[in-house]
């Protein structure tokens, strides 16, 4: 269905490094993916894999002065964001690419009412008068299912629950009618029942506006529910990309396999939970060759020497692993 939709965001070989006093942290080290209109791509990985930095790189919000995009392209509807100036990026952020972050506590300014904060954003995108902007703000709140929006406009963030704050954050994010939304673990700090409400809301907004979403998370349950395609990240690189169902049913990269196996299930027998021994390599001291090699059950010599290229293994399914070289791609 969405296969024919146009590509809105095209990231090619992106490299973003952090220059710290201990060395160069290669947080994003050659990452490529794309987003189609109306679809959701999940970016999955554990802490330190670079997924948050990837999201920040797309909108050029890397921590300063340590972070820098070193190489690569981020094509937003054909325009390369990497080459844009800072003032040009200011027009892109919020209006064409929006971002939702994890912690609702720190996403809103505690000394302004949420009405003020909404209006502040809307003013950047609409040249309307005060009353009209307030009306738009109330509409925005209504669209994210905030009850009694007229009262809520005058409320301060600390008077609202976490779930409601995230809704407001979402309202601010989509106020500029962006083409791409980057959601970085938006529900991690929320209760599960609230999380369900929120994810349903995001899906609804996406259906209405044909938003392309990059959903950064470590939770496979969310991925299964929300994402059309998934990219798995490890130590700064994407190791596997594919349609959600394919990745769950037949993961091809040993890390994807092991990661999924280590998630406890709600049904089935409760046997010993397989875990991955060891830890990911430090991003400032990466080994030559495949970065998962020290922990891989199928490792061989070549893996340790050379980093495997990304190879197709199925329709829209690609993996960076030497093992798949032997099996021909099935089309």
């Amino acid at each position: 269905m969405t296969a024919a939709a146009p590509i809105v965001l095209d990231v090619r070989d992106l490299r973003a490094y952090l220059y710290t006093r201990w060395g160069v942290v290669r947080a994003v080290d050659g990452v490529s993916f794309f987003l189609r209109e109306g679809e959701t791509l999940g970016l999955v990985g554990e802490s330190g894999c670079g997924k948050t930095m990837t999201g920040l790189s797309v909108v050029r919000l890397l921590p300063e002065p340590t972070g820098r995009i070193v190489e690569g392209h981020v094509f937003l509807e054909g325009e390369d964001l990497v080459t844009k100036s800072e003032s040009e990026m200011r027009h892109v952020r919020g209006r064409r690419v929006a971002m939702i972050l994890q912690d609702p506590q720190t996403s809103l300014n505690p000394v302004f009412t949420i009405g003020d904060q909404l209006v502040e954003t809307l003013r950047l995108h609409h040249a309307d008068g005060k009353r009209s902007l307030a009306g738009r703000a109330e509409d925005a709140l209504r669209r994210v299912k905030v009850a009694a929006p007229e009262q809520r406009m005058r409320a301060y963030p600390h008077q609202m629950s976490g779930g409601m704050k995230q809704r407001v954050v979402g309202a601010i994010a989509v106020a500029g009618e962006p083409r791409v939304l980057i959601a970085d673990e938006p529900t991690t700090a929320l209760d599960v029942t609230i999380q369900l409400q929120y994810l349903a809301l995001l899906k609804e907004i996406q259906a209405r506006t044909k938003l392309a979403m990059l959903f950064i998370t470590h939770d496979f349950g969310i991925v299964a529910r929300m994402c059309d395609r998934v990219a798995v990240m490890y130590a700064g690189r994407i190791v596997e990309t594919g349609p959600t169902r394919t990745l769950f049913r037949s993961p091809r990269h040993p890390y994807t396999e092991a990661l999924m196996a280590s998630v406890p299930r709600m049904e089935g027998s409760v046997t010993r939970l397989p875990s991955i021994e060891g830890q990911p390599p430090p991003l400032h001291d990466l080994p030559a060759g495949c970065r998962f090699a020290p922990r891989c059950a199928y490792v061989d010599d070549r893996c340790r020497r050379e980093y495997p290229p990304t190879m197709p293994v199925g329709p829209a399914h690609e993996v960076a692993c030497w093992r798949v070289e032997s099996s021909p791609p099935s089309r």
Binding site: L18, T20, W22, G23, V25, P282, L283, H284
Partner: protein, 303 residues
């Protein structure tokens, strides 16, 4: 979830412990230290400590034929008195060096006493909370409203001039500032899980305060100490300037500035030299304190 910086720190520490990259790190650290400040501080401390050995003259020896000589680089100056002489013919350089002693000893006593009291009050107040906390903080608030110099003058007048008086006056003035900041830190530390776990282990309140709380507020406390050295030196100088400080003939920088006031137009060096010394030393301590705070703060450790 932990802050990104903390995870990166842990990753670095774990992988570079005892490594050659540790050497690189140390070299990087050394490059960023506030060298100028350290040099100034060292000179002052050494000067004060070795005063009898390095001062060219006695600070109190008068020599009226030599009075009001300008510094060596001016016309009429000589290398016998590198920074000139005052109205009684006493060597300015020697008085400067001995004056450093006064400033440092007052600072040391006042900071130890004031800082010590403030530390204890802050810890007890922050840890025990409740009414004890409310009461102590009201005392702190009251103390902080005292007009600094006025109180010091009052004390000087009632207790008489001398090192003791100044030390007491400054202690009274600064303990409250320490107490307030330390209490804030204690509240933050108290909220961390390892304190609750210490109670689960069965630790007494005393043990928790000494083993868990104090070591974790020491960083802040030390930074506060260094940042207050400048303040204390200025207070002492101000008191001496106003005539309520160390009595003559013991040289004190503030007093030297005061004495030179009436000769400002003709013998500028009498006030400017000790004034410049005060400024440089206070600046050096402040810069050092800033650097220390940044260095000790794990969050700011990148780049």
């Amino acid at each position: 979830m932990a802050r990104v910086e903390e995870r990166i720190d842990a990753g670095f520490a774990a992988s570079t412990a005892g490594d050659e990259s540790a050497l690189r790190r140390v070299r990087g650290d050394l490059a960023r230290m506030p060298w100028v400040s350290l040099v100034i501080i060292t000179i002052m401390v050494l000067g004060a400590a070795l005063a009898p050995l390095i001062a060219p003259h006695s600070p109190t020896e008068q020599s009226l034929p030599d009075k009001l000589r300008p510094p060596a680089w001016e016309a009429g100056g000589s290398t016998k008195h590198l920074l000139g002489t005052d109205v009684l013919g006493r060597d300015v350089l020697s008085r400067l060096i001995y004056g450093a002693r006064v400033s440092l000893s007052v600072a040391a006593v006042a900071l130890l006493a004031g800082g010590g009291i403030g530390l204890m009050v802050g810890i007890v107040s922050g840890y025990l909370g409740g009414r004890v906390d409310s009461f102590l903080m009201r005392v702190v608030d009251a103390t902080l409203t005292f007009p600094t110099i006025l109180i010091a003058l009052l004390l000087a007048v009632s207790l008489g001039q001398g090192l003791q008086t100044i030390a007491i006056a400054i202690t009274v003035l600064i303990w409250a500032r320490f107490a307030r900041v330390v209490r804030g830190e204690v509240l933050a530390v108290k909220a961390r899980d390892f304190v609750a776990l210490a109670r689960v282990h069965g630790c007494s309140h005393l043990r928790i305060m000494t083993v868990h709380i104090v070591p974790n507020v020491l960083n802040t406390f030390m930074v506060l100490l260094t940042l207050h050295i400048g303040f204390v030196i200025i207070v002492e100088a101000s008191l001496s300037f106003l005539g309520a400080g160390i009595p003559p003939p013991t040289p004190s920088w503030g007093q030297m500035v005061a004495d030179g006031r009436s000769h400002i137009a003709s013998a500028w060096w009498l006030s400017v030299v000790p004034g410049a010394a005060i400024m440089l030393v206070v600046l050096a301590f402040n810069l050092f304190g800033d650097w220390l705070r940044d260095w000790l703060d794990p969050r700011l450790r990148q780049v």
